[in-house]
């Protein structure tokens, strides 16, 4: 899309576009305060155009015609492409709480760049799914968990994905939320936080750039925050992302519940000073054993009698009074435990997810020792029932797949 804002100078327009048959668009103009709404005008227009469904692109001539005649004109259909991509939704209060205080700060620590993957039913925040190294983290929300009035469309089965800078996103949401609560008033819906995908010209540039825009409308004023995003992923890239996502769903056969994430994190953070590699073994008896070993020191921790989900076994009594190392070795020989080696920094990162305030956390080793998986569980508030609308899990690459 190529818009030419120069035509309009400082004061611009809002418009309502309606479309009759045969691609005829009638534009009704109204004045809008440019300084207040800034670059969002284009977004508004894009959105208005989105409503008509068939308009893919508006050429420069449209503006000329509009500026000249101010009445109906015929739009030229141009190449099909990403221009049909539309996303708009309102963040719910629950969604704001989940993102602002819990998920965004934690996911920010997982890595600077994240893929935001939106489908007609779900929103995903994905780290390292395409890059292949580093901790993969997969946060999945049913659209209702975060949004209402959720509208998405694209030529790729209504799926949109793009890369976004987590710290910028986090800051934009935080600031929008504080503005939202300050503005207040104006009725229950007036100060809702709208999120949408737009393309606009950044200052001093002639190239339209995609943004994820947060718009807070108060009674008399509005604030818009634009978070730059990558070019939306191509059909092939989205397919790749979807495939990686599908592959990341395999469950370990045995999962053990970590009783105290804070304590484990404390321990692992100190362990980082001692060694770089961490051996993690998990048994069907409910033992979690982590150990780092260098030529000068061996340091480890063993947590026993943890809650087991999945395949379990009864610990043999003769293993009771032996050291943690011997206990793990025997369990592995018996086939009752698996062991993998991961980067201690990755392990520590995965523990930082406790910032999202999960109700439980489980560690497990994927079949064939493909990765170390940590799954965070969320309960429906006030119950012990799993909240299926939110899920978060991480996959830590293993260093020696054998």
């Amino acid at each position: 899309m190529r818009w030419n804002w120069a035509l309009f100078g400082g004061s611009v327009v809002s418009m309502v576009v309606s479309m009759g048959g045969g691609g005829l668009v009638r534009v009704i103009w109204g004045l809008w305060n440019w300084s207040c709404f800034g670059g969002s005008v284009e977004g508004e227009m894009g959105e208005a155009l989105a409503g008509v469904g068939k308009v893919d692109c508006i050429g420069r001539e449209m503006w000329g015609a509009l500026a000249g005649a101010g009445k109906g004109l015929i739009l030229r259909k141009q190449e099909q492409g990403q221009n049909r991509m539309k996303f708009k939704a309102f963040l719910t209060e629950n969604g704001v709480n989940l993102l602002e205080k819990r998920f965004l700060p934690a996911l920010d620590k997982m890595g600077k760049i994240c893929h935001l993957f939106l489908t007609s039913e779900h929103a995903f925040f994905l780290h390292n799914l395409l890059s292949g190294d580093g901790v993969q983290s997969i946060a999945q929300f049913q659209k209702e968990a975060l949004f209402d009035d959720y509208r998405i469309s694209s030529q790729n089965e209504d799926r949109i994905a793009f890369a976004i800078d987590m710290s910028l996103l986090s800051r934009a949401v935080r600031s929008s939320v504080s503005i939202c609560s300050e503005l207040g008033g104006g009725g229950s819906n007036a100060n809702r936080l709208q999120i949408k995908l737009v393309k606009k010209l950044p200052p001093n540039s002639t190239l339209p750039t995609p943004f994820l825009t947060f718009e807070t409308k108060g009674y008399k004023s509005a604030v818009i925050q634009d978070v730059p995003i990558s070019k939306p992923l191509s059909r092939a890239q989205v397919l790749e992302l979807q495939t990686a996502l599908d592959m990341a769903q395999d469950l370990p056969q045995t999962l053990v519940q970590v009783p105290d994430l804070n304590q484990l994190q404390n321990f692992v953070d100190r362990m980082k000073h001692v060694g770089d590699l961490l051996n993690v073994s998990i048994s069907k008896y409910g033992d979690l054993h982590v150990q780092t070993s260098t030529t000068l020191i061996t340091l480890g921790a063993e947590f026993r009698k943890l809650l087991v989900v999945g395949e379990r076994a009864v610990p043999p009594p003769e293993d009771q009074n032996v050291s943690a190392q011997i206990r793990s070795e025997r369990a592995i020989l018996r086939g009752d435990a698996q062991s993998v080696q991961v980067n201690v920094k990755h392990f520590s990162k995965s523990l930082q997810c406790h910032q999202v305030k999960p109700d439980c956390a489980f560690y497990g080793i994927a079949p064939q020792g493909a990765c170390l998986t940590v799954i965070f569980q969320f309960f429906i508030p006030g119950t012990r029932q799993t909240d299926k609308s939110i899920s978060l899990h991480c996959r830590l690459p293993v260093l020696d797949p054998s």
Partner: protein
């Protein structure tokens, strides 16, 4: 637990400690650089850590047996073992959980002459470590500290003030003069180099100088980096407890700096401890530094 009792007979040392953080604090105080080797000396009286640098600076941490909740010593002679101090402190640190008093057991030697550590406060969660030891280098010089005459030349200064003074002396130069004079009773730290900085502590009230004994004027110069090592890692608990550090000048200008570090369980720390460190003496780790003076000092002093 029964198996450890059987093994214990063959071991030189089995001891248990209920405040790991205190031990971390005490050992951190003598950790003035990242990679340092320490010699550990075991005896029936306790455990001593000895660290030294280039024959000019030596530090000792005395962990008396009274600091331990259990201390079983059955070695012949006094075993000495070498460890990497930094690694040992980092390792001990993993046993220390904020908000908990961590209970650990230390045993020596393991099957491969390791130091064996493990947490013993929970049956279902256990932290353990095996630290390799090596045959220690011989101590390069003997720090026999002898008094410089019939009356000791000594003063006690608030640890926080001492640290601050030494920190302030960083900019003038690499050599610091320490002068004691009886009249008026005062201690002077003087740095000369890019500029001059002189810090005088007068023994007029006991706010800074808690005690002072000096019957004649003496003055020696010490390398700044060694002086700094004596205070650079003073644990926060020492400052918080408002403790004093004792400095003594011995024969030939050898400087001895002593700090006291609390190894009490954190729960007993809450009652206010006054400046004299009035507390069970058995719950204190003693730290001593010995600093050799620079040699070009004229022999006026003796």
């Amino acid at each position: 637990m029964s198996s450890s009792a059987v093994d214990a007979e063959a071991l030189d040392l089995v001891c248990q400690l209920d405040n790991v953080q205190g031990m971390v604090d005490a050992l951190s105080a003598v950790r003035w650089k990242r990679n340092q080797d320490a010699v550990i000396e075991l005896s029936e009286h306790g455990v001593v850590f000895i660290v030294e640098e280039t024959g000019c600076l030596q530090a000792k941490v005395y962990l008396q047996r009274e600091l331990f909740t259990r201390y079983e010593y059955s070695a012949q002679g006094r075993p000495r073992l070498g460890v990497s101090l930094g690694l040992f402190v980092d390792c001990l640190n993993t046993f220390s959980v904020p908000g908990h008093s961590s209970f650990i057991e230390i045993r020596y030697p393991g099957p491969d002459m390791q130091l064996l550590l493990k947490s013993v406060d929970s049956l279902d969660a256990c932290i353990y470590a095996e630290v390799k030891t090596r045959i220690p280098d011989s101590i390069s010089w003997d720090y026999n500290f002898e008094p410089a005459g019939s009356t000791p030349l000594t003063f006690t200064v608030k640890s926080a003030a001492l640290k601050e003074a030494i920190d302030d002396l960083e900019w003038p130069g690499s050599s610091i003069q320490i002068k004691l004079q009886p009249d008026p009773p005062a201690v002077t730290f003087r740095g000369e180099g890019h500029g001059n900085l002189q810090i005088d502590l007068y023994y007029v009230n006991t706010d800074l100088l808690v005690a002072f004994h000096c019957d004649r004027q003496v003055s020696y110069r010490y390398k700044y980096k060694f002086l700094r090592a004596t205070t650079s890692n003073i644990p926060n608990s020492v400052i918080k407890d408002n403790r004093g550090s004792k400095l003594t000048i011995g024969r030939g200008g050898m400087l001895k700096v002593q700090h006291l570090v609390s190894v009490a369980r954190s729960s007993t720390l809450h009652p206010h401890i006054d400046s004299a460190g009035y507390q069970q003496p058995s719950r204190i780790a003693y730290i001593e530094f010995f600093v050799k003076p620079e040699e070009d000092e004229d022999a006026v002093n003796d």
